[in-house]
Chain length 173, copies 2
């Protein structure tokens, strides 16, 4: 079986949406993901630079992330034909380790936890495909990197782009 490694934040979970919600509440703003097109959070509002560590220091931030549409159904179908690994950068915020595990068991409980990988540098991953929203992760990956669309990567070129989980299904099934 071919092996697909799948990123977590912005691919399975609405990471930046939750950041926007917390920020909007704190600063009485109305930023939406539309405002984030082609930008990182700090480009949208410089105050994110000092706030992010605070938001991510809370275990419940990771536990309560919403699941991206169709990801569960499509990955369940993919797992019949491919070995699926969930590969997430967790070492920069070690407080995320335990809640990321719990989130995956709750929302993707049909996957074997032995196929979860919590790492930093993803060039350590040996797989045929990597679906990830971060271009730098794809750049050092030895297999075929595929860019999952997130607001911040709208203008990135040079990778096969997957705009949503229905496109992932069409590509792999």
């Amino acid at each position: 079986m071919k092996r697909i490694a799948i990123d977590m934040d912005e691919v399975l979970s609405h990471f930046s949406t939750s950041c926007l919600e917390l920020f909007n509440k704190e600063f009485n703003k109305n930023y939406t993901t539309e405002d984030l097109q082609g930008k990182m959070l700090v480009d949208l509002d410089a105050r994110f630079a000092e706030k992010m560590d605070h938001y991510l220091a809370n275990e419940s931030f990771f536990l309560e992330l919403k699941v991206i549409k169709d990801s569960q159904e499509v990955i369940q179908k993919l797992s019949v034909h491919y070995d699926i690994y969930i590969v997430t950068a967790a070492m920069e915020f070690p407080v995320s380790l335990a809640p990321k595990y719990q989130w995956l068991k709750k929302n993707f409980g049909f996957l074997n936890e032995n196929n979860f990988v919590f790492c930093g540098d993803k060039s350590i991953i040996h797989a045929d495909y990597l679906i990830d929203d971060t271009p730098s992760n794809l750049a050092t990956f030895k297999g075929k990197g595929m860019l999952f669309t997130a607001p911040h990567n709208r203008d990135v070129t040079g990778y096969t782009r997957l705009n949503n989980w229905q496109e992932v299904a069409e590509c792999f099934l």
Copy 2:
């Protein structure tokens, strides 16, 4: 730079020694690592089967593991010439995730945490070498697997064996 992936339990940390200490205390026994040669803990005493989950459920178990002799000095020297990744199976006991991170930062703080990998199945690892005490991890590894001697693997053949960290230094430096 070539890349060396290094296991944690029984390669960097005295995992089974701590298990023996807890068991000896609880059951008033005097098992030593000598008694464990060629055996798993449950082969030495069947009561380990029910006790292991209990021992490993305690975060402090992982935090307090002793460091294996010479591992820090040799890895510090290796890291000048090789990219070092620490690759540990943590998903079976997710309570170990946070304390394993803390243990590595405390005892191997000279390594970048982006080079820590917490996983289950190690066939996902892309590296040139894997130093590990568990033969099944080496069997599915795509690079060169090297067996680090631990009591339980005394009788295993078929891999380049490294008996201690001085032998690792001689092999790689």
